[in-house]
Symmetry: C2
Subunit: 495 residues, 2 copies
């Protein structure tokens, strides 16, 4: 991939002077159009070898355009808040909102490539990383993001010359460090690993743009023009893009209409006395498990989904009642805020991920995408269909980072829901819990059941399993949930 | 203040059992009312001595109420992201939005008290901290927050007994550390320092509630009832609260209508040739200053204010053009997002404060409170009047943390603004810059000038000075701004 970036591309100063003023104006204009449309972000990755003009390009783009609408992030070593979360957390944090340009200097490519160059990672680790990156970028692209990945390249000879030149100038000497030379010694290996990684991540939705870095004028104009053309193309194509239909085969429902949830036994009950005893025992065990010496190495991520009035809140409070309040956050998911709406839908769940040694409990979750958003048509078919694998990727990242993930679907019968709705309407302090929307959702009971069955089938994994809870009897449901959670913790902490 | 919390307050288990169920229901109800109203947050501080039931109270409040609407934050040692910002940053981060309850376990009181107990701070440092805290809490209260500060107390004898009891129980032994006993040895000193601090911060808007901590039932019911009554009182009083008028004497304008801005010489000009030369020299110097070995210890906070079309954007770009793009963030201030609207108005500026070694450039700023919000009536008189001192407090915290703060007011004449508006309307790629709102604002020219003059007078400080820029000539303005900035940096880095 680097051959054409070793040809000695050049642009004369005269040519540059003719091109640059118009390019600046056009870029500014594209930027304001992007901002006024406010429908998609532009994500610019700046990567490549040392001395190839990465920093200069970032500065130039900021100078040419309006820096008020550019978010530039340079990634160095992760902060302690970052290093206690999955590696991608710091990049999610830095994603530009719709309408803005985000320039990422250093990116999700840095660690996999460096780790491989220095032998800390095997070939198959890199392969694995590459696959994950492709899926991540696909998700961004599907969400509308325009992704431009620049790789600034120098031939070995050119890099040596460049480092020497920087070193010999009093003004720029500070920029060359021992680390740069130690990297240079590994030039061939670095080049081979990068080329591999680039080839495998140069996708239709996020292709790499390799730029020869030795001539500043050529480099600058290439980066600027590429960005401009990509923005113009996307801006002009925008209106049509939105009317997207999925080309996928439809999810076919079982012809006998029998779903996994129909087979769930809802007749279990637990007498109050036994409930109180078992609850106390389980809460005691849970409390103890949070003081296990290994607990601070894990995050516990709990997801609660279920039909309205299935008892999610009550179950959550039986868990939180057992844990020190400093150790958990409960995140009730309601309508997204406007900051959240300007980001990919998983963003608002990523942002709440806690540091290690903590619980985070989602009362409704990212599964809204394939439940309410699917059923009510808030998400296009193409969008909720791809959510299954996006969600699996997300949860896999959590698990790999040491998270203990447990997901609960609380199932009640349609009759039981009716009984609970009526009871809520009668009880003064429960009235806030029942709204006309609940009654409306109830009318779509069957559609929700189909969606839930699909969800459970497509997102139940070994590292993030669904537990189906027959919840007609609250006592039974709560004990089953606590028991499942305690088992999961025990298996990880003591296993 | 602690005398009445050493009386041996008690509640029998029987009494507790009678009171508790109703208290829970009432608290839940108050919580939902709070959430539905969505107009103010409740901030609960949990402080006091070790073993007095702080943790138990936090857990109980979370158990009694709906944890989905409670944000509990425990503050231990600051993370590295926190320790590079002013000490209050981590608390601003944790403030609950309107409609929610925030429980802060550990708070802005912890460090000042501990530092004084261990002799790391002098008496006058504590006094100073106390004054700052009072102003901070006043700001929160003025913004509508209901603040409850609980101090859980134990007599010396009771504390010793409590620690011994914890230690002798196999289940709770882990909770007592060597640190607890080392604190206990300082009981008298700790008690004296805390009592002092509490007395001086027990204000009308945020009084301390000292609770005897030895009896769990008494402690729990006292905390619960106090919180409930405070919420009920505030919720019922809400509608009237909003019709608040300032009792302050009005800001009197000079009877001759002569303002500081009228005296500003707008006739300065700079020929293009000299501009280019001086600009290049200043940008070069600025770039060098950012590589000064002391630079990474400072944050640079720049504020740009001025009438529409005064040239703020252009000036900012002449600064950013000189600096590595990784070192600055430009924050254009537009309408607040809904997450920002749910917080005190300074919150959205606090959130953008960078780590050390960085520039943050606010294109319009917190001064909107005393400019546009004052002139257009978006903020009540009482609110913008108090903003002057709130802003001074904010900037003082920045300065004390090592920030270099520079504020620029760009002044143009009314005729020059007209000329620029017309020019913008004519130039295709500048049209986005001119809106009907700009013309409307122009009609209030005089009111804005009066507001600006008041602002400059009341918020110009040694550590965060205003520089008034005659900006009819853009070249002159930009050079003056860069020169001022370079001087400020030089003084701090080389001084």
């Amino acid at each position: 991939m680097f051959e054409s970036a070793e040809l000695g591309h050049k642009l004369s100063k005269g040519q540059y002077k003719r091109i640059e003023p118009k390019l600046r104006v056009d870029l500014l204009n594209a930027q304001y159009q992007l901002s006024q449309l406010g429908k998609f972000p532009v994500i610019v990755l700046i990567s490549g070898v040392r001395g190839a003009g990465k920093g200069e390009t970032v500065n130039l783009l900021n100078e040419w355009m309006d820096p008020r609408h550019i978010h530039t992030h340079a990634f160095d070593n992760p902060s302690d808040e970052e290093s206690e979360r999955p590696p991608m957390w710091r990049y999610w944090r830095a994603l530009p909102p719709k309408g803005k340009i985000g320039i990422l200097f250093g990116s999700w490519y840095t660690a996999p490539i460096i780790d491989r160059v220095f032998g800390r990672a095997k070939a198959r680790d890199l392969l694995h990383a590459v696959e994950e990156i492709n899926r991540f970028e696909k998700m961004l692209a599907d969400d509308g993001a325009l992704i431009l990945k620049f790789w600034f390249h120098l031939s070995k000879k050119a890099q040596r010359k460049r480092l020497k030149a920087l070193e010999s100038d009093r003004e720029t000497r500070w920029r060359v460090t021992a680390r740069d030379w130690s990297f240079f010694k590994l030039y061939d290996r670095f080049s081979r690993v990068s080329e591999d990684a680039l080839r495998q991540t140069s996708t239709a939705w996020a292709p790499w743009i390799v730029v020869e870095g030795s001539d500043p004028e050529y480099r600058a104009v290439t980066a600027g023009k590429t960005l401009l053309e990509a923005m113009k193309k996307r801006l002009s194509a925008w209106p049509e893009r939105r009317s997207k239909k999925s080309d996928a085969a439809p999810l076919v429902q079982p012809v006998d209409k029998l779903h996994i949830l129909d087979r769930l036994d809802l007749s279990h009950t637990l007498p109050k006395k036994r409930y109180q005893k078992e609850l106390a025992a389980l809460q005691g065990e849970l409390a103890k498990l949070t003081r296990h010496p290994k607990f601070p190495q894990h995050t516990v991520v709990l997801v609660f989904e279920g039909m309205d009035a299935a008892g999610k809140g009550g179950a959550i409070r039986r868990i939180t009642g057992a844990i020190d309040a400093r150790l958990y956050h409960t995140i009730p998911i309601a309508a997204p805020t406007d900051e959240e709406r300007a980001q990919p839908y998983l963003w608002r769940f990523w942002r709440h991920l806690p540091r290690k040694g903590r619980f985070v409990i989602y009362d409704r979750s990212w599964y809204g995408r394939v439940l309410v958003e699917r059923v009510e048509g808030f998400a296009a078919e193409a969008d909720w269909l791809r959510a299954y694998s996006e969600i699996n990727d997300f949860e896999q990242q959590l698990a790999r980072n040491g998270a203990i993930v447990a997901k609960f679907w609380l199932q009640i019968s349609k009759q039981e829901q009716y009984r609970r709705f009526k009871e809520r309407e009668k009880t003064r302090f429960k009235q806030f819990k029942i709204t006309p929307e609940d009654w409306r959702n109830r009318e779509r009971w069957d559609a929700y059941q189909v969606a839930a069955a699909d969800m459970i089938e497509r997102t139940g994994t070994g590292h993030a399993p669904w537990t189906l809870i027959g919840a007609n009897d609250k006592y039974h449901a709560r004990v089953k949930i606590l028991d499942t959670l305690a088992r999961a913790l025990r298996a990880r902490l003591k296993g």
